[in-house]
Symmetry: C2
Subunit: 416 residues, 2 copies
C-alpha cells in the first residue's frame, strides 16, 4: 500500500481508540472549541478559499459551481453554528440496548459504540469538511476525508482550523485527516484500505457513488439518487394532491427528494391532469406525459421510455396514467431508486397497502416527498440519505455512524 | 450478464415481492409443509446424497469431510425439526419501531421489512440448504443458494423437496433457487449481480469469505474467523478462570468462538500458569507460551510471533504475560479478529473498562467465549456470526435478515 495512506490509516486507527474513551463532555468541548476557531480564523479561511475560487474562475467554471465553492463570513458562521448544534445533540455512544438475562444468569445487552475510522469521499463544497468532522467526532469516530481537487486549499484550511480547535481543547488532532494528494489513483487506493477504514461514505453525484461501490473493498454506505414518485389514487383529495405535487416538484428542484414522476389513477385523470398542467405550467415545469395523459392534455410533451427511469433534478416531470393501484405499485417498484415515494389517497386499505408493498427508504401517505431529510425527521443532523438496505436506510443521523457490540456480564458461566 | 443467472435473479426478485405480501400464517404453513416433505421424501434424499458420498469416497476425501457430507434419516429429521422451530419463532416483519409525531403532525416510524433477495455461498454441508431457506423464508426473503460442487446432488434434491413442500402449500416455489452450475466462473458472476441480489452471505472458510469480500459488488455480511482471547486480570478468581479457560478451549475445538489465546497479568502468573498447564495438559492441549510464561513453566512450547495472530481451531493455545490491563487491551485489540473476548476479574472498574475498550462483536466478563451463538443468546436461530461492524455484528438471528423503511402518515403536509 501507498506509504502516505498507510501512515494516515495507522494514525486514524490510533485516534479512534482515543476518541472511543472520551466522555460526552470532552467531545462537546472539542466541538465548541472548533466552532470558536472557525470564527476567529475567518480571515485565513477566506484567503485560502480565494485561491480555489480564483482558479475556478480562471478555468471558466460555471457560476453556480463557483458559488458552491465560495466561503463567506456568513457561510463560515453557519459551519460554526452547525458544530454547536451537533454539540447540543444527545450522544448515542455507550447506551446499552435490550439487556436481557438468560436462563443461566448471563446478562446480555448491546452497547452502542463508534464504527472506528470513517472515510468520506466528497465533491466540491468545503462546508462538508466541517460538517462531516462534526458528526464523526460526536460519535467518537476518526475521519479520513478526501475532497475534490478544486477545493483543496479551502479543505486544507478548514482541516487546519479544526485541528487548532482540537489542540486548544487538549484533544487529539489526528481525529481528522485529509488527503492532500487529490489524484484519482490515491482515491482508488483509499477505497482498498479495509485494514484501516471501517466504512466508506461517498457524498456526491451518481458517477462518484458508482465508482466507490465498484472499487471499494471497504463496506460502503450508498447515498443515492432519487427518482421519486407521487401516485394519485382513485379516492385522492385532488386539491391536496395538487398542493403536494407542486411542493414536491418545485419547492427545490435540484435535490434528491424532489418528485420526478407522477402516476395518476385513470378515474381521476380527467379532473386532475388539467389542474396539474395548470399549476406546474405556472412554475415553468415541463411535463413529459404518456399517450393517455395527452388525450386529456394534448399540449404536454410526449414521454419516451427513458423518462420513467430519469432523475431530472430540473424543471421537468414525467406523468403516466394507470388503471389500478396494483399497476401503480408495479410501475413504481420497477423504476424507482429506493428513495422516497408517496400516495395521495383517502382509502385506508390502499394507504396501508402502498406502504407495505413499495420498496423504498421512505414511503409517504398524503405528504410531500421533500420531508426525507435528517432535520425534518427530527435527527438534528444528517450525514446523507441512504438508498441501500444494509445498516442504514433513509436519512442518516448520528446513529448511522455507530455500531453495537454485545456486552455480556457473567459470574463464571461455562457452556455445557 | 450470464443468461442463466439473469433468469434466476429476475425470478427471485418477483418471488421476493410475493413473499413480502404473505401473512405470518402462510409463511409458517409453508415451513411446516416443507418439514413434512423432507420426512416423507427421506428415501429420495438418501439416494441422491449417496451419489455425492460415493464420489467423495472414490476421490479419497478425508473421512471427517465425507461425514459432513453424509445425510442420514436422523440428520434429515433434524433438518425438518429445524424448520418447525423456525415456524414457531416470532415473525419480525411488519413491526413498526419508534413511531413519533413531528411538530407538523407527520407521524414517522420505521417498518421492519425483508431485505429482498439474499444470496448465500456455502461449502459442503447439505443441511445448510434447508436451514438457510428456512431463515430467509420466515423473514419474507427469496434466496439464491450456491453450494459446493461436491454436494450438488444432495443440494438439488433438498431444493426439489423444499419446492414440493411450497407447492403443496400453494406458495411460490421460486422462493428458493439453487445454482446447478457450480463453476467458479458462475460463482464470480453471481457476486456481481447487484441488480437482483440485495445482500450476499458467505458461509465457509477464510478463503471463501475473503474471495467474496474482494469480488462482490453486492453488499456482503462477513461471517468471520475467531482469534478469541481470555485475559486473566490481577484480581481474578483463579479457580473460575481455569474453569472458564478449560471450557472455552476444550468444550469444542474447531469452532470460531473457541479460545485461542491467553493473556495473563504478571501478578497472578506464578499461581495460575501451573494450574492452566496442568488442566489443559490433561486435555492434550499444547500451550505456546512467551518467555515470561516459560520462566514459570519451562515445559511449555516457545511461542513465535505468528502465534499471536493464529486461529488454531485445534488442540493448541497461545499464552502471554502482561504487566497491566492497558497492555492486555492493547495486545488483544492488535491481534483479535473482532469476534469474542473475555476478561476474568473481580475488579469493577477493570470489568467495565475492558467492555468499553475492547473492539469485538462480543465482550465477556467472567464467562466462556463459547456462548457467542444465536441459540445461546436466545435468538432461536442463527444464520452465522458477523465480525463486521455494518448492519449486524455478532450472532445473527432473524433480525439480521431484515431491514427497515420509514413509513410516514400525513394529512396534506408540504415543506415550507
Amino acid at each position: 500500500m501507498n506509504e502516505y495512506l498507510e501512515e494516515l490509516g495507522k494514525n486514524a486507527k490510533k485516534a479512534a481508540r482515543l476518541l472511543n474513551n472520551l466522555s460526552q463532555e470532552e467531545k462537546n468541548e472539542g466541538l465548541l472549541s472548533v466552532a470558536d476557531q472557525l470564527i476567529s480564523q475567518t480571515p485565513y479561511l477566506l484567503e485560502e478559499n480565494q485561491i480555489d475560487v480564483q482558479k475556478a474562475i480562471e478555468n471558466g467554471v460555471k457560476d453556480s459551481l463557483v458559488d458552491r465553492l465560495r466561503l463567506t463570513p456568513e457561510r463560515i458562521g453557519a459551519m460554526a453554528e452547525g458544530l454547536r448544534q451537533i454539540a447540543a445533540l444527545e450522544d448515542p455512544i455507550g447506551e446499552i440496548l435490550s439487556m436481557k438475562t438468560r436462563p443461566n444468569g448471563l446478562q446480555i445487552g448491546q452497547m452502542r459504540v463508534p464504527l472506528g475510522v470513517i472515510g468520506i469521499i466528497y465533491e466540491s463544497r468545503p462546508n462538508v469538511t466541517a460538517d462531516a468532522f462534526g458528526l464523526c467526532f460526536k460519535t467518537g469516530n476518526a475521519v479520513i476525508l478526501r475532497g475534490g481537487s478544486d477545493a483543496i486549499h479551502s479543505n486544507i484550511a478548514v482541516k487546519n482550523v479544526i485541528q487548532d480547535g482540537l489542540e486548544d481543547a487538549a484533544l487529539p488532532k489526528t481525529a481528522i485527516a485529509l488527503l492532500e494528494d487529490t489524484s484519482r489513483e490515491t482515491a482508488a487506493e483509499m477505497m482498498k484500505c479495509d485494514e484501516y477504514i471501517d466504512v466508506l461514505i461517498p457524498r456526491g453525484g451518481a458517477g462518484l457513488i458508482r465508482s466507490v461501490m465498484e472499487n471499494s473493498t471497504i463496506p460502503v454506505i450508498e447515498t443515492g439518487t432519487g427518482n421519486c414518485h407521487i401516485y394519485v389514487d382513485e379516492s385522492a383529495d385532488l386539491d391536496m394532491a395538487v398542493r403536494i405535487i407542486e411542493n414536491a416538484k418545485t419547492q427545490r428542484m435540484g435535490v434528491c427528494n424532489a418528485c420526478e414522476s407522477l402516476v395518476i389513477h385513470r378515474s381521476v385523470a380527467d379532473k386532475i391532469i388539467p389542474m396539474i398542467a395548470d399549476t406546474l405550467g405556472k412554475k415553468k415545469v415541463e411535463i413529459r406525459a404518456d399517450e393517455d395523459s395527452r388525450v386529456i392534455a394534448p399540449q404536454l410533451t410526449p414521454a419516451s421510455k427513458e423518462d420513467w427511469g430519469t432523475e431530472y433534478l430540473d424543471a421537468i416531470i414525467s406523468m403516466k396514467v394507470v388503471d389500478s393501484i396494483e399497476e401503480a405499485i408495479e410501475h413504481i417498484n420497477q423504476y424507482n431508486t429506493g428513495h422516497s415515494e408517496a400516495i395521495i389517497t383517502s382509502n385506508y386499505k390502499n394507504a396501508l397497502r402502498f406502504q407495505r408493498e413499495i420498496d423504498a427508504a421512505a414511503v409517504y401517505v398524503n405528504a410531500s416527498t421533500r420531508f426525507t431529510d435528517g432535520f425534518e425527521f427530527g435527527f438534528g443532523a444528517e450525514i446523507g440519505i441512504s438508498t441501500q438496505k444494509l445498516h442504514a436506510r433513509g436519512p442518516m443521523g448520528l446513529l448511522a455512524l455507530t455500531t453495537t457490540k454485545y456486552v455480556i456480564f457473567g459470574d463464571g458461566q461455562i457452556r455445557e
